[in-house]
């Protein structure tokens, strides 16, 4: 999959992304690091433990990383769950989590087959 196609799968805006990051190489380099980022697994673990303070931080970090890399659909879910967890409470975060996991898996799949 080319970078352009990959970003399309992630619903990112390729031109915007390239405008910000200035080189395709840089984008690819950091996209490939994404599956190793810990914020997703930390979010899941924190939700499991009902530790909403850690969950909020992890969600917030995930949102930021996604924003930086143009992983747009996951970013939207991460943003929703961040707001649901703001104030360290579970304000409907449980309902968003399955969608978020689905988007995460889709994103990692797409990145894994990046050329």
């Amino acid at each position: 999959m080319t970078l352009n196609e990959c970003i399309e799968v992630l619903s990112g805006d390729f031109d915007e992304l390239k405008g910000r990051m200035l080189s395709e190489e840089r984008i690819k380099k950091f996209l490939r690091m994404f599956p190793n980022d810990r914020s997703f697994s930390e979010l899941c673990a924190a939700m499991e433990n009902e530790d909403y303070e850690s969950a909020f931080r992890a969600a917030h970090t995930l949102k930021g990383v996604c924003a930086n890399l143009g992983i747009e659909r996951l970013r939207i879910k991460a943003s929703e769950i961040t707001e649901a967890l703001r104030g360290n409470v579970n304000n409907g975060a449980d309902e968003i989590l399955p969608d978020l996991i689905e988007e995460y898996n889709a994103a990692v799949d797409a990145i894994n087959i990046l050329e």
Partner: protein, 691 residues
């Protein structure tokens, strides 16, 4: 270039990817340190301190978040040292406001834009280095200013001490005690509304409390025995004389230092019960500055040894003051003196002058910087603007010229006020081909000198300082140049790419010094030279030219005592003034005229022929004998000696004139006599000219 020499940037973000992205953007130009939470960040911040050029700080992090890091940096006073840019997608305004309040310089939002990140980092670093330069300039300026007034104060107080025969420590002790008492006083009451800078000012001014003693004749000032009532009256005159001297500093008459010094001079012998002098002021009619200096003066005089007394032990001195043996003091000031009793003894022992100045400069710098609000400014534009306004303000206040020169483009930038005044552009291209510029800086030689000085600097020590003259409106004025070479260390061999600095006009300080020296050379009553100064002038003349003809004339008023007795001292003063001005008027320009004490005057005359001398002397003598003030006829006796007769030794010349004067006096009726050898050999030979 290796890692150690590049500017260091600390990236604090809990996401490894975010750190990697930022690092990737900036590592080309900077050396990068990383931390994944606030705790790790604080470790690095404390380890590297201001070696960090910048911190990029995430807001939301585990362990310790971004706001907590900012708070900790505030606690450790590091927030003023290292600029912090916050990174976050968190655009809730309460977070942003809080971060700005805590001293964050700027924000970078996610998603990152490589160009924006680079630009913002570069701008922030530039801004901070400008600020650091500015802080250096400001503290240097404060130091300069302090040095000038310190110097003035030192010269004056040394003149007094020199004549007073007091130990050089007295002034310093008065400084220290004054400061201690005032600081205790503001703890006890806010009645006197004293700020720390008021206190600094009073402390500096306290050095001048006795400058009026310059006007007191040596023989009274340094008389070892008891003073007569009349002599004591003369001593008392030093209060008013001091205030009058300071009044001569017309240009600085509104300077807080001069105002404080005048109060202190005039009132430091007033007593709380109204029994002091010169005004007999009572209670808080006496300025608090003078009240405190008075007690400091009295205490130190008691515990020090003087030619007429032994040192009195600390405890005993304190008791004497409290028991009112040294006159009445303000009860609260007395209390303050007793409160600081314990420190008093020690402080006075350890106090040294250099320590004092350094401490003061630091204090003033701190105060200035804290007032400027430099550290709490909330965004970069305001910040730059404020820095610029402040430096421009300081520049126009002190008439200093700030400049920046860039070598490659050959461009000189100067202060707005300066450019405006000389109708120069703010930015001058090829400045050293510009005739106006060359005229102001006195030609290419000066430019070359400047260049040579800059070449002696190194990237580690880029600053230079020297004094030069520049031409302002056709007038040469001394300027102090403080300047920093701009070194480019990016390339293989470091090179100078320009210079930034300022010129401070110090001509006025020079003039003031000259004025003060002149004041110290004059007799305060009659405004002609005093004895001490005149002796030096005459001795110089005598040693310079041992082939010229010189005469020394002594003039003494007959029955001046009766003028004082019959018409009062004020009238006596008028007589002396009138004689002095007549002497000045009737003598030629190159003659030296002085009051040598009491009712005795001296004129030193350079002449070619005996006839010329005779005409000059007789004209002076006759004119003075013609003076009539009300019912009082001035009569004067005159004695003249010449180098032709007695040689070029000053003391001989003076003693011979004195002998001739003594002879004239014995004739009683306003006589004039010339000294000759026979006068000494055969007793007196009379050469009466008049009557």
């Amino acid at each position: 270039m290796n890692d150690d020499e590049r500017s260091k940037i600390l990236i604090v973000d809990d996401s490894m990817i975010n750190r990697a992205i930022l690092s990737d953007i900036i590592e080309e130009k900077f050396s990068v340190l990383e931390a994944e939470n606030g705790v790790e960040a604080m470790k690095l911040i404390r380890e590297y301190g201001n070696k960090l050029s910048l911190i990029l700080l995430d807001l939301v992090m585990p362990e310790m978040d971004g706001l907590e890091v900012l708070a900790a940096m505030n606690r450790f006073n590091l927030i003023n040292e290292i600029p912090v840019i916050m990174i976050s997608a968190e655009n809730s305004s309460s977070y942003i406001e809080r971060a700005y309040e805590l001293g964050a310089t700027d924000f970078i939002n996610r998603p990152f834009n490589v160009y924006v990140v680079k630009k913002r980092i570069a701008n922030t670093i530039m801004l901070y280095s400008k600020q650091k330069n500015l802080i250096n300039l400001v503290s240097q300026q404060v130091y300069e200013k302090e040095k000038n007034s310190d110097l003035m104060v030192k010269i004056l107080s040394h003149i007094v001490e020199f004549r007073n025969g007091e130990s050089g420590l007295h002034i310093m002790h008065v400084n220290t005690i004054t400061e201690l008492v005032l600081k205790q006083l503001i703890k006890k009451t806010d009645k006197y509304k004293l700020t720390m800078s008021d206190i600094d000012c009073i402390v500096t001014a306290s050095s001048l409390h006795d400058i009026g003693k310059i006007s007191i004749p040596d023989e009274i000032l340094n008389k070892p025995g008891r003073l007569t009532a009349e002599e004591f009256e003369v001593i008392k005159g030093h209060s008013e004389a001091g205030a009058k001297m300071l009044g001569f500093l017309t240009e600085y008459i509104n300077d807080p230092l001069v105002i404080a010094a005048k109060d202190i001079c005039l009132y430091h012998h007033e007593k709380y019960d109204g029994k002091g002098y010169p005004m007999g002021l009572k209670g808080d009619e006496i300025p608090i500055s003078a009240q405190v200096v008075a007690i400091a003066d009295v205490y130190d005089a008691l515990v020090s040894e003087r030619c007429y007394k032994k040192a009195i032990p600390h405890k005993e001195a304190l008791k004497m003051i409290c028991d009112g043996e040294c006159g009445a003091f303000n009860p609260i000031v007395l209390e303050c003196l007793c409160d600081i009793e314990a420190t008093l003894e020690n402080e006075i022992k350890v106090n040294s002058l250099s320590h004092n100045s350094v401490r003061k400069v630091r204090k003033i710098t701190d105060e200035l910087l804290s007032q400027s609000g430099i550290s709490s400014e909330s965004n970069s534009i305001n910040y730059l603007e404020q820095a610029r306004t402040m430096s421009e303000f300081l520049a126009s206040m002190s008439k200093e010229i700030q400049f920046e020169y860039t070598k490659d483009s050959d461009v000189l930038t100067v202060s707005e006020w300066f450019a405006e005044k000389f109708k120069l552009p703010l930015v001058i291209v090829n400045p050293f081909k510009n005739e106006k510029v060359l005229d102001i800086i006195n030609g290419l030689d000066n430019v070359e000198y400047f260049g040579d000085e800059l070449k002696k600097t190194t990237p580690e020590e880029p600053a230079i300082e020297f004094t030069t003259q520049i031409k302002i409106e056709g007038q040469h004025r001394s300027h102090r140049v403080l300047c920093m070479a701009k070194w480019d260390t990016e390339g293989e061999a470091p090179r100078i790419v320009g210079a930034v600095g300022k010129l401070i006009d110090i001509e006025n300080e020079y003039q003031i010094m000259a004025d003060l020296k002149r004041q110290a050379s004059l007799d305060p009553l009659t405004n002609i030279y005093n004895h001490r100064y005149c002796v030096n002038l005459v001795k110089n003349k005598l040693s310079e030219n041992t082939s010229g003809n010189y005469a020394l004339g002594l003039f003494d008023l007959d029955s001046f005592k009766s003028a004082n007795d019959n018409f009062g001292h004020l009238f006596g003063d008028e007589v002396l003034k009138s004689v002095a001005s007549t002497l000045q008027r009737t003598s030629r320009k190159k003659d030296i005229v002085a009051r040598i004490g009491g009712d005795e005057f001296m004129v030193f005359i350079e002449y070619k022929t005996d006839n010329e001398l005779k005409r000059a002397v007789e004209s002076i003598h006759r004119t003075i004998n013609d003076i009539k003030l009300d019912a009082y006829n001035v009569k004067i006796s005159t004695g003249i000696s010449t180098t032709k007769e007695v040689g070029y030794d000053y003391n001989t010349l003076f003693n011979c004139a004195d002998t001739a004067l003594y002879y004239s006096k014995s004739l009683r009726n306003g006589a004039l006599s010339y000294y000759d050898k026979e006068m000494k050999l055969s007793g007196f030979k009379i050469t009466p000219i008049e009557n």
